[in-house]
Subunit: 150 residues, 2 copies
DNA sequence: TATTTTTGCATCGTGCACGACATAATCGTT
DNA sequence: AACGATTATGTCGTGCACGATGCAAAAATA
């Protein structure tokens, strides 16, 4: 009788919000964005724009297609985003000489200077509720998922 | 000399996209949504709508404020989303008798029936690239972050 | 060389997220 | 009862994400 009850609960639990992986992932991602928000606002950029800058700080002069691949985003997301970044003077968008279809994205001085603010941004996650070791483990698991998806 | 070089790299690495927690979290969240997409399309619902249904399957007749708290979303996100769900006949939205400010969300038969599709949805994450134990660990770490944020 | 296919980027429409702000119902206090 | 504060929900504007689709340049093939 008790075993049956337990079995039933176990089955029911699978439907519960907190027992699924999808919701914590979705909520945690938005939570991290929210942590960065105060500093990002100060810098006048959005979270996806910060990710674009991270790619460019690592390697300047990237084509849109490479940028899209690294961020796992599509051109229809990046094109308007990059246009806004160009308008605010963070990047330049130039047609490639070799391939007229390709757009090369490069940092302006203004965009390059923002790299100095990275430590301040990272500090926002200091008290995220998990230890450094747990964060490393978390990143490892997430990266494993991303690798699987190519 | 070699030690200095290593120190330098270590410092540089902190700026790299793949070495931050924020990007894998952001990308993995979108990846999971993408995995669910084929089945969600078939059911005629979106991913956030599925999360709303999960809450309602667990507890029907929930006020918008409680729903918002559970999903960590705001009314300005949920109101239009719930209106769309009402239009597609998944839920009802009724003003509470006790408190005229409050809206009570309840499942329709159509919304209730969709619960049967949960196993099919969960199956979409079968080959996400991590083991069951790793998924449990991942959920645990993410939940710890969410708890910290209340 | 001519034609087909692929690639790189773009536009358009829909649906979130969320900050700023508005509004009406309720509560707390006097 | 009167009224200021709080609460629950809503509107509006902006910026992603992404499916569907278009288009021109480049590559592949006939």
């Amino acid at each position: 009788m008790k075993a049956v009850q337990k079995q039933y609960n176990k089955h029911e639990d699978a439907y519960k919000l907190e027992n699924q992986l999808c919701f914590p992932l979705y909520a945690a991602s938005r939570l991290v964005t929210k942590c960065y928000q105060p500093v990002l606002d100060e810098l006048g950029i959005t979270y996806p724009q910060y990710l674009v800058l991270m790619v460019l700080w690592e390697q300047d002069q990237v084509s849109l297609s490479v940028l899209a691949e690294k961020l796992m985003l599509q051109s229809n997301t990046l094109t308007p985003l990059l246009k806004r970044m160009q308008e605010t003077g963070l990047i330049d968008r130039v047609r490639s000489q070799q391939d007229e279809r390709s757009i090369v994205i490069s940092l302006t001085d203004k965009g390059r200077l923002l790299k100095a603010e990275v430590p301040r941004l990272q500090q926002q996650l200091q008290d995220i509720g998990i230890t450094f070791e747990e964060a490393v483990q978390l990143k490892k698991l997430l990266s494993k998922m991303l690798r699987k998806a190519e």
